[in-house]
Subunit: 336 residues, 2 copies
DNA sequence: GCATATTGCTGACACGATTCAGCATGTGGT
DNA sequence: ACCACATGCTGAATCGTGTCAGCAATATGC
């Protein structure tokens, strides 16, 4: 780090002809409280501008135990296709509150996770956001007990913690509502949650069921498969080969939708002429399909931003906040 | 930050019955150099383990001017689909060298960029990685002059700086070589660089030309369009409608390839029976196509990791390092 | 037996900020 | 003339570490 040896508070004080104490009070906005003459304030401010003074954060942190830095621990969100927007959201929100984000990815390894948490606490981060790639139930890592923290895209059912998640149930209702509004009552769902602790699937499913129930309808069929393109293709192909047909399909995510598009195309079925389709996630992949898929957006950036804002808000009441998912219309739904 | 008031060096020293100085030397691995009796070393280590001592980083930084932290400034890499793997790579490499990553995204705003750089320097990061979403020529931000830094996925042609970029020209040669090896000599390239300062396109193109030249061949045609799915679809559709045909297509990235697949399908042409196709990036999108596209991988994680390693290596000689791009074979190329 | 090295350790200062307690000086009330 | 009080500032301690210079005790050389 070659960098001009920067001015210290002492330099400012000397240059302005006051004590370090006085300069410090002024710089921390305590001038009024300390009844400092406005002429003095002006002198100090001039010295600051003149010397290009910037406080040394390490020194300040040593005294105050605050670093204006938040930690963001995740299993995998950085390398992830779309979830990485949570990082952007978090980073932007942190900046707005004069903080920076220190990130660490555990890759799912609990030992590494412990290490990263320790490293962050050593560095006196002002709080930690604990994020997961997929929405699910987790257990708060031991190292974060008693540490100011917010869960992002996950919840700990055992503890009463601040946590920020997407409103998957509302999203499920919205998806079903799109099909109902198009006059479609024959709805098949593609995709089942692979992991036991995953919350997105069950909640979306509950929302879909609830919305259909308002018309006295039930889900016509549920095609089970993992949430990936090839699995979607395989499962949908088999379903179609077995005579499966439906006016409306709901895919648990956009990747599945891509696989389903492929299967439909090979079976000679067209979207939306023969089948209407709605999916989840709101990734750009949905836009790239032909026609673009109507998809219920996961507000990743908002989730990340909200997590940081709650972390840094001393008034935050805690508890889970569900962020709404909104429908982005493509051309994959056609009214009957 | 509610956290147990942790043990300090003084506590350790008292508990072990030695001076702070001695304890400090031992903890910094200078026991031998300072000829400290092994019995004393053992006593101190026991005290450390007993008290769960962890050094206070702020205090240490104040003395040493080092924070065991590196800054990572980018325009957009976090929110980006695949480039975000650079973050993962950087984070992992940093951890291996006992550092953490502080990230900041400017979103391309120079003012915000300046601010982020200032914030990081205030926090005494040990160095800064300056990354861009797309490979291109840049001008080193003023605030980083004289600061230890490494450019990631970009270069400053005016300055002799350490920088880590993909070997796009080698990638271009590799792409062409795949087609040549399949006996295809009729090669059309899809995609032209949209931005003036972008380096990926021209370099890939140069590589393709060079490889073809070894057989005395030239690129048969160049379909100009932006590097996105819809643009790829539009451009390829028009080209096909105008009678364009080729045995081999090289797409400048995987998104373009997806658009081209769509256009080919609508024109009734099949990959790889009628047309062989190679693309760039190595994103998962290439795997999702049917058949999976043969693609020249952009080693994002390696790039990020290497940038951090070079940043933290005092012996690093500087200059540009090009990381090889390797071919990932899908089913989109068929020998003639 | 004395000068000199070596061994093993410590005292004290510095890093750059925050903050408590207190010290002059002026001002108003009685 | 004296006390009380507000005004405007400062000295000194503190946060937890790193490190230079030096000190006492023992070993070594001749």
């Amino acid at each position: 780090m070659t960098r001009r040896r920067s001015a210290t508070l002492r330099d400012v004080a000397t240059s302005a002809g006051v004590s370090r104490t006085t300069a410090s009070y002024i710089l921390n906005g305590r001038a009024d409280e300390m009844r400092i003459a406005s002429a003095t304030v002006a002198k100090v401010q001039a010295a600051v501008a003149d010397l290009g003074y910037r406080p040394n954060r390490s020194a300040r942190s040593l005294r105050t135990q605050r670093t204006a830095t938040v930690g963001l621990i995740s299993d995998q969100i950085a390398g992830e296709q779309y979830g990485s927007s949570m990082l952007t959201g978090a980073s932007v929100a942190a900046r707005e509150l004069d903080h920076l984000v220190v990130m660490g990815e555990s890759g799912g390894d609990p030992d590494l996770e412990r290490l990263l948490i320790e490293e962050m606490l050593e560095r006196d981060v002002d709080g930690v956001v604990y994020a997961t790639r997929t929405a699910r139930a987790i257990q708060l890592p031991r190292g974060l007990r008693g540490v100011r923290s917010v869960l992002l895209n996950c919840e700990d059912p055992r503890e009463q913690l601040a946590s920020v998640v997407p409103d998957d149930e509302g999203g499920g209702r919205a998806a079903a509502a799109v099909l109902l509004a198009a006059g479609i009552e024959d709805v098949v769902v593609v995709g089942e949650d692979p992991a036991l602790d995953a919350t997105a699937g069950p909640r979306r499913m509950a929302g879909i069921r609830a919305e259909l129930a308002t018309r006295g309808i039930e889900v016509a069929d549920h095609v089970a498969c993992d949430w990936s393109v090839p699995d979607g293709f395989e499962a949908a192909s088999q379903w179609l080969a077995g005579g499966g047909r439906a006016a409306g399909l709901i895919c648990m995510n956009d990747r599945l939708a891509m696989g389903v598009y492929q299967a439909l195309a090979e079976a000679g079925l067209r979207v939306p002429e023969d089948v209407s389709l709605v999916s989840f996630d709101g990734s750009s992949l949905a836009d790239w399909l032909r026609p673009a898929a109507t998809t219920v957006e996961l507000p990743f950036a908002d989730l990340g931003a909200l997590a940081v804002r709650r972390l840094l808000d001393p008034e935050d009441p805690g508890g889970t906040v569900s962020v709404p998912m909104t429908v982005r219309h493509g051309g994959s739904v056609r009214p009957r």
